[in-house]
Amino acid sequence: MKKLLVSVSVLVTVALMIWGYYQAMYAAPMEATMGDVQRIFYYHVPNAMLAFLFFAISFLASLVYLATRRSNAPVAQAADAWALAGAEVGVIFCTVVLTTGPLWGRPVWGIWWTWDARLTTTLVLWLIYVSYLLLRKFAAGPQMQTLAAVLAVFGALDVPIVYMANRWWRTQHPAPVFGGGDDSGIKDPHMLAAFGWNVLSWAVWGLLILVFRVYVERRQQKIENARAAAALAAE
């Protein structure tokens, strides 16, 4: 039953992603001023939105961990697994954003990178969560989990700054596509559809990886607990 459920979710996810790719590359019309390179939009923006979502998952799980670490150990351990998985998937999405951005900026702006507020705060966000993952890699135990949770909480504070950066400050990065004023927006229904399908397919993909990753991490925790118990019994 579990195997069937996993197979069906993987198949649905792959089908959605193929459909999203078709929508972005073929179904959506070519853009008037930028040409085909504008199709990067169908990946860049959904990935940015989902990076925010998965960092938010990590943030909430870290808060739960911090609140329950002394009072309710089983809940705290589960929250820790969700926090780790959320940060990992968020870093993947954020990496895609930081890769597709320069690929788009080079032909359209003439530069790969610039230190404007949007780009810089996004890079800082990525660095915070990469250091979160490094911390988890190089240390172990409840002390590491607490430190990691605090780091995830502080990292999440950068998310609203990234989001507001091109609203608060003048940036190279354009204004938000949705709700960005007169010089922003999409009216073409095929473009909107391609965008929506890619948000959906990448969200489903990210949630699938998240659930797998939490499952693996929970197994890992069980193994470590069993090892610790065995070591205590041997003494």
């Binding site: 853009e31 008037a32 040409g35 032909p107 702006w109 400050w169 003048r170 190279q172 938000p176 473009m191």
Partner: protein
């Protein structure tokens, strides 16, 4: 408790940033009227100047480009004779991007000379976040001739006297 105090401090910093956003707003680039209002400081600073490329003013020869940066797009009702213009001379290592053309919003990075000419060493285009489908048969910048063709024709930069009137692809 300690975490709570730290969160309050960080949130305070974010709030302060938001509160002072209006003042620090001008950091990434200056507009033409702002540069005009800078007085003598305009000549000494390395500036990133923002404006719209005045249509039909681009004179390009490889990586040497002369053009006029103006305050408003040509279809803006404010684009009258009173609009501020700045002549820009660009000498860089690469030709400007394909999106650099008449009415494009662009940033010129360099120094403002006392001759009234802005000497740029880098050009960056800005892009709108408004997307519309291309008209059938039209060739937007990104789909024009492959980049290798453009580089090949741009590589042996001719002397400034030989400046021709070629504009960028897609016009």
């Amino acid at each position: 408790m300690r975490i709570g105090a730290a969160v309050v401090i960080v949130l305070g910093v974010i709030g302060y940033l938001a509160f002072t956003a209006q003042a620090s707003n001008k950091s990434y680039f200056v507009t033409i009227p702002e540069m005009a209002g800078m007085g003598d400081k305009a000549y000494s600073a390395n500036l990133r100047l923002d404006g719209f490329v005045k249509p039909d003013t681009i004179q390009q020869a490889g990586t040497h480009v002369n053009f006029v940066l103006t305050q408003f797009e040509s279809h803006n009702p404010k684009a009258t004779g009173d609009a501020l213009n700045v002549k820009v001379v660009y000498d860089g290592t690469e030709p400007p991007p394909d999106t650099f053309k008449g009415d494009a919003q662009a940033l010129a990075i360099g120094t403002y000379g006392r001759d009234g000419v802005f000497h740029a060493t880098q050009l960056q285009a800005k892009c709108a976040s408004k997307y519309a489908p291309a008209a059938p048969g039209a060739a937007p910048a990104g789909s024009a001739a492959p980049a290798s063709d453009k580089r090949a024709s741009a590589a042996p930069a001719p002397a400034p006297e030989q400046v021709n009137n070629t504009t960028t692809a897609g016009q």
